[in-house]
Assembly symmetry: C2
Homo-oligomer: 222 residues x 2
C-alpha cells in the first residue's frame, strides 16, 4: 500500500519563521510597521527625525535602528524623544527578523502608534529579508544618480513607497542632469502601484505628501 505524502507545505527558513512571529506580534499589538531601505547616506535617519518631529501630535513612532556599528543613528532618533532600539549587525549587511524580534521586545509598544525599522545602508541585500513589516519604503537620494531603479530593481519592485530625497540639491548646477521623470517612469515600469514623493528632509520640501500617506496608512492598519 502506498503511503500518502502531503506536498506543497512550504518549509520556512529561520528568517521567515521570525518574520511571521514579528508580524503576529505587530498585528496583535495593532502596530503598523515599515521597513526603510536605501544606500548608505541617502538620508533615512534625517527623514525619520523630521517625520517624527513634524508628526508628533498625530503619530508616536518607535524606531529600530540597524547599523553595522555605532549607536549614532539611535541617538539622533532619541534626541526627538522617540524611543529607539539600536541593533549593531557587526559586519552583516542586512537586518534579520530574529534581530528585529529581539528589538521589538525592547520597544515600549504600548506607548507608540507605529514602528519604523531603519535597515542597514544597502540597496541590495535588505530587500531579500522579510522582517515582519507591513510595507517597505525605499529612499533614493538625487546625488546617487537617476539610473538606480533599473540597476537595482529588486527593492524598487517590492516597495510601497519611493522617497526621492535631497531634491533641494537639484537647485544648484551640480545635479542638473538628474532626471526625476526618468526615475519615476523606470520605477513605475517595475512597480505600477508604488507611491512616489520628491522630498527634502533638510528643507521640508515635499514632506507633506509623505506625511499624508503615512498617517493614512497607519490609520488603516491600526
Amino acid at each position: 500500500m502506498s503511503k500518502k505524502i502531503q506536498l506543497g507545505t512550504k518549509i520556512l527558513s529561520a528568517n521567515e519563521q521570525y518574520a511571521q512571529q514579528n508580524k503576529q506580534l505587530l498585528t496583535d499589538e495593532k502596530k503598523p510597521c515599515l521597513n526603510m531601505i536605501s544606500s548608505p547616506g541617502s538620508g533615512k535617519t534625517t527623514i525619520l527625525v523630521r517625520t517624527i518631529s513634524d508628526l508628533k501630535a498625530k503619530i508616536k513612532i518607535g524606531v529600530i535602528e540597524g547599523d553595522i556599528q555605532t549607536e549614532l543613528d539611535a541617538e539622533r532618533i532619541r534626541a526627538t524623544n522617540a524611543p529607539a532600539v539600536q541593533i549593531n549587525t557587526k559586519g552583516a549587511c542586512h537586518l534579520s527578523a530574529a534581530q528585529v524580534n529581539s528589538a521589538l521586545h525592547k520597544l515600549p509598544l504600548q506607548e507608540i502608534d507605529a514602528v519604523v525599522i531603519e535597515n542597514v545602508g544597502n540597496l541590495v541585500c535588505p530587500s531579500a529579508f522579510e522582517l515582519g513589516e507591513n510595507d517597505k519604503v525605499v529612499v533614493l537620494s538625487v546625488a546617487e544618480g537617476d539610473d538606480k531603479p533599473i540597476k537595482y530593481p529588486a527593492i524598487f519592485s517590492k516597495a510601497k513607497v519611493l522617497l526621492i530625497n535631497k531634491v533641494d540639491m537639484l537647485a544648484g548646477t551640480a545635479l542638473a542632469d538628474f532626471d526625476i521623470e526618468k526615475v519615476k517612469a523606470d520605477t513605475l515600469r517595475l512597480n505600477k502601484d508604488i507611491q512616489i514623493f520628491c522630498i527634502s528632509a533638510k528643507t521640508g520640501e515635499g514632506m507633506q505628501g509623505w506625511y499624508d500617506w503615512l498617517c493614512e496608512s497607519v490609520g488603516k492598519l491600526k
Copy 2:
C-alpha cells in the same frame, strides 16, 4: 603508534581558490589590478571614464564592470574606447572571484596595462570577497555624509586609497555640514597607511593626485 596529523593547512573557500588563480594570472601577465568599492551612485563609473580619458597616453586600462543588471556602465566605459567586460550578478550583492576569472579571460590583456574591477554598488558585502586584486579603492561621495567611515569600517580599513568624490557639491550650501577633516581623521584611525584624495570626477578638481598615485602604483606593480 600515534599517527601524525599536519595541522595549520588553510582550507581555501571556492572564492579564495579563484582569487588565487586570478592573482596568479594577473601576476604572470604583469597586469596590476584594482577593486573599486562604494555605495551605489558615489561616482565609480564617472571616475573611471575621466581617469581612462585623461591617462590614455600613459596607461591603457581595461575594466570589469559588476552590476546586478544592465550593461549601462560597460557602455559608458566603451565610449572611451577602453575594453570593458560587463558582469551581471542577477541579484547578487558582490562580484565573486569566479565571475572575475571568467571576465579576465575575455579582456584583451595584451593590449592593456592595468585592470580595474568596478564592483557592485554596495559599501558592505564586496569588502569581504577577495577577487585577486592588488589593492582596493573605496569611493565616498560627499552627499553620503561624513559618518560613513565609522559606520562602515570594513572597507575603509582594507582599502589602499579613499577617493572622496563630488567635492564640487560642497561649494553650495546644501552640504555645508559635510566635514572632510572628520572623514580623513576617522579613516586614518582605522587605516593609517591609506591614501586619501578629495576629487570631483565631474569638474576634474583634485584628480591629479589620484592619477599620480595610479601611475606610480601601476609602474611599481608591472
